[in-house]
Symmetry: C2
Subunit: 390 residues, 2 copies
């Protein structure tokens, strides 16, 4: 009755957790939400003001398919300013969130039966975008020992006859791991040796603590970049992101955007212009620093409680913890059982690793530090009780 | 290098017209744009105000994947109020424009190698959404004699082994033709007899002149409806539309939306709530009436000039005219040559039928009356010179 692909689109396990959390809240329970992949701050005021201003100026029509020229230019300038990369604005494509960028990338690059190599764990929707175009996600199991990232050696090992390229992510979801410049170079060289295509999800770019994020564009001009105004710029609900693509891809992409999206929200585009205005950078940086403080609190707290975080998550706002030993002690079947029990008994909502991770998700959980420090401390205190009673 | 589907995504021919029009404008020429499928009015002020208000209230986060509950409810109520159809709000899915609705419909219903029957001429992107999922558009050539619409008899004649359903449109683009209640019943019965699925594009619903629009939901509860806030409600650049689907489809659709879109622009959703507020209906109706006046002027004017409009377009804001006799007289190869020449010599920009129409687009052009009456009269005067010199 429905297309076969629909059954293969797995529901997010976290949705069941969220459902139960809401139920408990409606019964008066105090629930700490550490499952949400969205900043808890509203968009900064100057971006809001720019959106309001554009509406007041009656900017309500379609824009160019590839985005407002001034926004494409501002994004190109951002790469110059932040990463020292000189970029033609023609290579910038404004999209309806990174979601649209991932869809367009799949449609542009992936024929039916062909696939992209990617790290497992990773962003779960990547597989679904590929499935829509009858392509495949070629998952490569990576653990904390490899920083949960793919590399040149793994690309060589796992490249199949029907592999056409690699989708890497930095900072990565759910692990917060960052690819260094050397790691990006290593991946780029391996992909080039295979005559493949390299796509890098830089959606969490800018949200790093200690180590700076790099862009693949610093080392590889042929790569496809997926980015977003949702995370560092805090514009989730506006639905706006972008791609940087090789010049040769622009014509095909423009046709795809015209057909599949027409254009991106004009209000969001004017908001994004303000997001890139350097005068507003300090507000964004203050938020990044706040995430950094939270990360310290949560990382140290979880380690002290015995959660195994055998790597140092350097970006995004996630910590991916191994709970295998807790599962054994407590008699939980897997991370989903653990998440439901911790929610039920202690009112802490977490995301089971199974949402991100085919090979080790059953014994991992993702913590999001999209909560103020005080609430994180409350959550740690509750988890301490949970762990102490094991 | 790129996926095979990319080459099959034809560029819109009108883009080349538009490109040349802009060039001429930059040289100081006065160009009348009758090629644009977007209302020339900005969004009405109460909708703008609602968007501004939501931003001022810092509503900037993701919403539920299927849309704000109050918006889904308001859409359900709209069907009750306008079409006498009682509808559970659970069956309403808010989407990032009708574009997203068409993509979701294709992903939900169409397996690779399967196809939907649809009228040729029609909205060109429909084929592309199907192509993305490796499905097919099964085009049925229809002319003015059939009101450019598909019907039960044609469905029976053209149904193939790999046809799974029908995509109809009312009011239709590029012809402005409306399906009467009897015509909708006829189509529905034919599809049901084939155990097929019926999708109706009601994107231009509400924009009709003389004859009221009907919704397929008045006669068929199992149909899939694609709709938009872009046209009647004048919210093109906001990127918001909706679907009404059978209850059984909601779970699968929710997963698809979560993966492919996350959610629809929150600002657009608050704007859409105001769009549905009955207090604002008179402003929307005033615009509809203005379109109605323009239609009269343009339709009578074109007929007087000898353009063949062998049917009465009743909705949307388009007139699809047969120019075969003009092509012969003037020695133009096809509608594209005609459009370029009329643009060059008389400064009137039209859309060649080839953008919509595989079988007769070469000798049709689409006029959009998204211009004030005075400008329409100017365009008619210029076209008179063109025709008189033949």
């Amino acid at each position: 009755m429905f297309a076969k692909r629909v059954d293969k689109v797995a529901p997010f396990r976290v949705m069941a957790v969220l459902e139960r959390a809401k139920q408990l809240q409606s019964e008066g329970r105090d629930i700490l939400h550490m499952e949400v992949g969205e900043p808890d701050f509203p968009t900064i005021q100057p971006i809001i003001d720019a959106g309001i201003d554009s509406l007041a100026r009656q900017q309500t029509g379609y824009t160019q398919a590839l985005g407002l020229p001034e926004l494409r230019r501002a994004i190109a300038v951002y790469y110059q300013e932040r990463y020292g990369v000189t970029l033609s604005e023609n290579r910038v494509v404004v999209t309806s969130g990174a979601s649209a960028a991932l869809m367009l990338m799949s449609a542009l690059l992936v024929d039916p039966g062909k696939g992209l190599l990617m790290a497992d764990p990773g962003y779960p929707c990547n597989s679904q975008f590929l499935r829509i175009v009858e392509g495949q996600a070629h998952k490569v199991a990576v653990g904390a020992d490899r920083g949960f990232q793919i590399n040149g050696e793994l690309i060589n090992q796992h490249w199949r006859d029907n592999t056409i390229g690699v989708l890497a992510a930095s900072p990565a979801n759910p692990t917060g791991e960052i690819l260094s410049l050397a790691a990006l170079q290593d991946i780029s060289a391996a992909v080039k040796a295979k005559n493949g295509v390299l796509v890098v999800d830089e959606i969490y770019q800018g949200l790093s603590y200690g180590e700076d994020c790099h862009s693949i564009l610093e080392v590889d001009d042929d790569a496809y970049v997926i980015n977003s105004f949702s995370k560092y710029f805090g514009m989730t609900g506006w639905r706006i992101g972008w791609m940087v693509v090789p010049e040769k891809a622009v014509v095909g992409l423009e046709r795809l955007v015209q057909n599949l999206y027409i254009s991106t929200s004009v209000t969001a585009q004017y908001g994004a212009l303000a997001a890139l205005d350097l005068i507003n950078r300090p507000m964004l940086e203050a938020r990044r620093k706040e995430f950094g403080v939270r990360r310290e609190v949560l990382l140290n707290g979880l380690k002290a409680l015995g959660f195994r975080v055998d790597y140092t998550p350097k970006g995004a706002y996630y910590i991916y913890a191994n709970i295998e030993h807790f599962l054994k002690k407590g008699g939980w079947a897997d991370s989903e059982a653990f998440c439901f029990d911790v929610l039920e008994k202690y009112g802490v909502a977490l995301t089971p690793g199974t949402d991100f991770d085919e090979h080790s998700g059953a014994y991992h959980v993702r913590f999001a530090y999209t909560l103020p420090v005080e609430k994180l401390k409350d959550a740690l205190a509750r988890l301490k009780v949970a762990v102490d009673t094991l």
